[in-house]
Point group: C2
Chain length 154, copies 2
DNA sequence: CATGCTATTGCTACTATTCGCGATAGTAGG
DNA sequence: CCTACTATCGCGAATAGTAGCAATAGCATG
């Protein structure tokens, strides 16, 4: 999987896409920004880097979409309905636990997912994309708080 | 888990919520509509049932949200970014495989998920909500088509 | 049955994201 | 280095869904 500039350029062209200045700027912004960023933040970063011409927000979305399609970035939606993106470094793969109560997200690495993927592929011929997969539920802290509240009511 | 009208009413009140006419209408619409429906469709159905007063769309969203919170309906987002809802009949639990290429969704029942949930709970104290969980990837048909295209290019 | 507390509703304004389209500009090929 | 082909851009309008707030109406209680 590509990670430095020439590699990325090659990967983009290999998929019949074009490496435009806008894309280059967004790629740079993605490397500069740590972890998960929203389209808004990426757009802001790009605008800060180059104030000659404002890039259209829709371009940011379309580019991120294309990059996600190629597997170069991964997108995950948080509970507030805002999507965040992050550079999918080669070999990197982690999973998100998103709490539906407090909205906080943890990143973990789950062994069982491999077994799950195997089952789905065997039984249904469906290839699940596990990279950066997100699961919703209730985090430890919120579970605890909830139980405490229940007791308080008694 | 409740499924008939008095039961549902009790469940709603038990959670400190109120059973308003709007909620009753939305519940009825949910029972009438088959499988997954969008908030839009539910709103249309409600409007069709009762033309005396148009219900606000935001009310539909809020109600579905509340019902999802109680576990009475389950929400899942499709690839186009539109959320669909369905009545979560007692005992019903299935998982969605959503193809990122053709957008089609399959419903399956996965044994491995129980193991996954156990691992996450043990290792991270996080209680994953497995009901109607969705996974993205590539379906058998699209995998096949993709391979065929690759061959055609050679 | 009357009453008060507060969950819910209906607005309306706003945010995040997508879509369509004419104008631009990467790229492969000569 | 030119040229044609077409992916991509910018822009502006459209869509799904959310937030804030004053008015309304369930429901527990006496």
């Amino acid at each position: 999987m590509p990670h430095d500039e020439p590699d990325v350029a090659r990967a983009i062209r290999a998929s019949g896409r074009r490496l435009t200045i806008q894309r280059a700027m967004i790629l740079r912004a993605l490397h500069q920004l740590p972890g998960h960023s929203t389209a808004e933040q990426i757009h802001a970063r790009v605008s800060a880097d180059d104030r000659s011409a404002e890039m259209a927000v829709s371009t940011v979305y379309r580019t991120l979409d294309a990059l996600a399609d190629m597997g170069l970035v991964s997108a995950s939606a948080n509970s507030a309905g805002v999507t965040t993106y992050e550079w999918a470094a080669p070999g990197t793969s982690h999973h998100h636990l998103i709490c539906d109560h407090c909205g906080r997200a943890e990143e973990v690495d789950l062994a069982s997912l491999a077994a799950l993927r195997a089952e789905v592929l065997r039984e249904h011929g469906f290839a699940v994309d596990l990279r950066h997969m997100a699961m919703r539920g209730t985090c430890a802290r919120c579970t605890e708080r909830h139980e405490t509240e229940q007791e308080a009511k008694r």
